[in-house]
């Protein structure tokens, strides 16, 4: 899946992340959970790629595998041209300052026994050789950048509210001047009125430091606001990838269409008028995905072909990619 103009900062090719399942007395491997099964995409410098999907579709696993928090089963991950998938130990560690992560739960990702100052300083102590005074100065700068009062550096995480804790996590991620940040549901645990504050902060920081984001979320309206391009995942695979306007304006994959129609609209007159595509049943288990297309068990437009053959990703032009037999047929009949 190659993209249009602009240099790609992150290139992911056929990334697979399979987890073995052990069971029985002898703990023999009895199956594989294919959490991420063949992802290919680029993230261009300075853009925000939204990664959306329902829980269990593998979006967080993909984010973590790209940062090499897991050992991927196969595939390539290149950041600024360096293949991370094959690196390990010290040579991987040298790459860490370039890529950082903001986690979902600001309560769980901050050590409750460390002060905010030392949490933000930790990456600096690990990777940058700064004196104690320089470190303190840098921590204060970072706290200013994310809108925290620098006088609070000696306080502990529990003294802060959810939104402020998320700001601490953001300051820590920014400490080493990364180019690429994976934001894994950074606003999911926050109240509506606080979500907008954090999203605005992320946008300001992106403009100021030229950051590139992979924004993982299940909140489709927030992704529309933030993302340049959006990838929709279903059961370990990307079913559709397109510029945000195209994806929200004219979704092509039946799953994307159903997903968008399922989002409740905060407008009572439209909400009751709009037609909704109701999907039946639940997402199949990634340990036992269906034959053919992964979505064939719930697809409202399923055909016989879908149950036997896996659809290939097809380029529809203008950076719009879809993996669906219906779209392929439609294109074929036009030709």
């Amino acid at each position: 899946m190659l993209d249009g103009p602009g240099p790609a900062l992150v290139e992911v090719r056929d990334l697979k992340m399979h987890f073995p399942v052990y069971s029985g007395v002898l703990r023999r491997q009895t199956g594989t959970v294919k959490a991420v099964d063949g992802l290919s995409f680029d993230i261009l410098e300075g853009e925000t790629l939204g990664l959306v999907g329902e829980s269990g579709c593998g979006k967080s696993t993909a984010g973590r595998a790209i940062l090499r928090l897991y050992e991927p089963t196969s595939g390539q991950i290149r950041i600024s041209g360096v293949d991370l998938a094959k690196r390990s130990g010290r040579s991987l560690r040298e790459m860490r300052p370039q890529m950082q992560m903001i986690f979902q739960d600001p309560q769980a990702c901050l050590n409750p026994r460390m002060t905010v100052g030392s949490i933000i300083a930790e990456p600096l102590q690990e990777h940058a050789r700064l004196s104690a005074t320089e470190t303190r100065e840098k921590v204060a700068e970072l706290m200013d950048a994310v809108g925290l009062n620098r006088a609070f550096a000696n306080r502990y995480p529990h003294e802060f509210s959810g939104g402020q804790r998320q700001r601490i996590g953001i300051a820590r991620a920014l400490a080493l001047n990364p180019k690429f940040i994976v934001c894994d549901e950074p606003i999911a645990a926050l109240d509506v009125s606080i979500q907008a504050q954090v999203v605005n902060l992320l946008e300001d920081l992106q403009a100021r430091f030229g950051l590139t984001y992979l924004f993982i979320s299940h909140d489709l309206s927030m992704v529309r606001h933030l993302a340049t391009r959006v990838a929709v995942m279903y059961l370990g695979k990307i079913v559709e990838l397109a510029p945000a306007d195209a994806l929200y304006g004219a979704p092509r994959h039946p799953y994307t269409q159903a997903l968008l129609s399922a989002v409740p609209n905060p407008d009572p007159t439209q909400a009751k008028a709009g037609a909704r595509i109701l999907l039946e049943g639940d997402v199949p288990s990634p340990a036992n995905p269906p034959e053919g297309c992964n979505f064939c068990t719930r697809c409202p437009k399923v055909m016989d072909l879908c149950r036997t053959q896996e659809p290939q990703t097809r380029d529809l032009g203008n950076g719009h990619f879809v993996a669906c037999h219906i779209v392929e047929e439609g294109a074929a009949s036009k030709e």
Binding site: N200, V263, P264, N265, P266, D282
Partner: protein
């Protein structure tokens, strides 16, 4: 009541506090509302706004102490809930008043089958025989759209998916034909496509069963879709109450207005920068002698910091607790 029918649940001036080591927390502060049979009232608010505590107080579900209902009147039909004996209250809960909680995994007992958990309330509240209760349990699972209901009765909660478990929770809540259903964030833990299924189910069941539903959520989209009336809570108080269309089209309270503006939309044009509400939700420790939103309010006036506004009518079906007047853009006379 707008349509003049007799309310099934009528709450007046409810005040609930928590006595803690660090002082008294005013969690619910002079909350009044009523709901008629067949009506769906949405309650929106952020975490800590008192929406769950209000509903828990109604049915005596809060641990006392530390919680204490300081004042207020809760009428179920013509009966005073606060004066009820524990025995009567127990018959009411799970009988005439059903509950659906946010997390179906923690509300269902993992060591009993789904069938057992459905049959239990039927035997206790309705006095059905084992066989009759089992039949009814199967019917309930069919009602909420679970396939193979007869077999599924013998399975355990962990064998269901999240959406199916929430359906089981709804079936348990509906077991004894409740007249009031209190649903506390019932779709928050679910994915949007599953949420859509549950919303359709609730709309369908409402028509079939004619019960009053109180739907607590922080998702304004869900409210727009299913509610007849909406109460917006902030800092333990109802700050605005209106019919769903009025609330979304002519919001009066600065908090409601800001909340609607912070939401990014799936349709329409994309804004460059989201509006945000600065600051943090209030601590409920302070005795509320001032407006709880005054610290974050863009329209704040000196009076807001000295007095707590009472709810005033904007129209017969719309009221707001605010000194600022959205129609004139100035202070309310």
């Amino acid at each position: 009541m707008p349509d003049g029918s007799e309310p099934i649940l009528d709450v007046k001036d409810l005040k609930t506090v928590f006595r803690t080591r660090d002082g008294t927390v005013h969690a619910v502060n002079s909350v009044s509302f009523s709901i008629a049979p067949g009506e769906l009232v949405g309650v929106v608010g952020e975490s800590g706004s008192g929406k769950s505590v209000t509903m828990m107080s109604l049915m005596g579900l809060l641990p006392m102490p530390p919680a204490e209902i300081v004042s207020g009147e809760i009428l179920y039909g013509s009966e005073d809930v606060r004066a009820m004996s524990p025995k009567r209250l127990r018959r009411l809960r799970g009988g005439d008043v059903g509950f659906v909680f946010q997390d179906p995994m923690t509300s269902l007992n993992p060591v009993f089958t789904v069938g057992y958990q459905l049959i239990e309330p039927l035997r206790i509240h309705m006095g059905l025989s084992k066989a009759a209760a089992k039949d009814r349990a199967r019917e309930l699972l069919e009602l909420v759209g679970i396939p193979d209901a007869a077999q599924r009765l013998n399975t355990y909660p962990h064998q269901f998916s999240g959406g199916m478990r929430q359906r089981v929770m709804i079936a348990v809540a509906l077991a004894c034909d409740p007249k009031v259903l209190i649903a506390d964030e019932p779709t928050t833990a679910l994915d949007v496509t599953i949420q859509a299924q549950i919303l359709e189910l609730i709309k369908d069941l409402r028509q079939k069963l004619d019960m009053a539903i109180i739907w607590i959520t922080h998702d304004l989209g869900v409210i727009a879709e299913i509610a007849d009336r909406v109460m917006v809570m902030y800092g333990g108080q109802i700050v605005e109450h209106a019919g769903v269309k009025d609330l979304f089209h002519t919001p009066q309270h600065p908090y409601t207005r800001a909340l609607l503006e912070t939401l990014p939309r799936l349709d329409g044009t994309r804004v460059d920068k989201l509006n945000s509400i600065d600051g943090q939700p209030p601590s409920l420790g302070a005795h509320p002698t001032f407006c709880p939103f005054s610290a974050r309010c863009p329209k704040v006036m000196p009076r807001c910091r000295q007095e707590n506004p009472q709810r005033r009518d904007v129209s017969p079906t719309h009221d707001v607790a605010c000194f600022w007047d959205a129609t004139t853009g100035g202070a309310h006379a």
